[in-house]
Assembly symmetry: C2
Homo-oligomer: 119 residues x 2
DNA sequence: AAATACACTCTCCTTTTGGTAAGTATATGA
DNA sequence: TCATATACTTACCAAAAGGAGAGTGTATTT
């Protein structure tokens, strides 16, 4: 019987792309990072308005996860009404080229785009 | 009141990275493509053995989706017992650099790796 | 005096995702 | 003759993800 291939049974999270995917796979996470890379600093409701289709709950969870993963920074100002500013961290910035590459591939290779080319 | 930012309400799927993510976000999809890029041509059970932790059902679904998205080719041989060969398509091949970039970023920036560096 | 804005949280619900285990039809090897 | 191999599919479940809508406390604006 043929031997099984070498790294059999490796968990997704233990591979490089699996780990990367676990950080940016959440819905809207890449979009949040995109907005932060464009605007540098943004507040919670500002992000909500920009993304539009995201719910409060999801935005809240995504921001917490991004912060826990060290991709964004959260600065809270002790004011009333409250003020919280989000921005990319160094680590988050280093991911932007990866996002750009995914973005470019997607724009060039999306099926709708391909159909538009055919016409 | 401040205007909302320009592309408000854009659905995830309609962005470049959102589209790319929808193609490779499924569990094990990137791993399947990795194996196909290494071995060129593989059969169903061969992939199953290599990946190890994937179930028949999930592998089956992922392969169908990858094929529907034009990332892999499926060739069926009318034999008994059956024989089916999977390989990357041109389009699938063009995604490999993206996977590589994600892989490299993940390996350099995974938290376990960072902890190992500290010691 | 009432509405609005800030940054969230909470509960309930639905959808999606993925896993387990068993089954299919047939041929080959022990 | 019986197990094993091929490439799957099907039914049933459990967990996770994400959405909807209401609520919180205070201050400014109308």
């Amino acid at each position: 019987m043929r031997e099984t291939c070498v790294p059999t049974g490796v968990e997704l999270k233990d591979t490089g792309f699996g780990y990367t995917l676990s950080l940016i796979g959440g819905k809207y996470k890449m979009i949040i990072m995109y907005w932060l890379s464009e605007n540098k600093v943004m507040r919670f409701n500002e992000l909500k308005r920009c993304i539009g289709t995201i719910s409060f709950k999801t935005l809240s969870i995504m921001l917490k996860e991004l912060e826990a993963d060290g991709l964004i920074k959260r600065q809270e100002f002790p004011q009333i009404p409250p003020k919280v500013e989000y921005s990319l961290s160094e680590r988050g910035l280093s991911l932007i080229p990866v996002l750009n590459m995914m973005c470019e591939w997607g724009e060039k290779n999306s099926l709708p785009a391909l159909e538009a080319v055919k016409r």
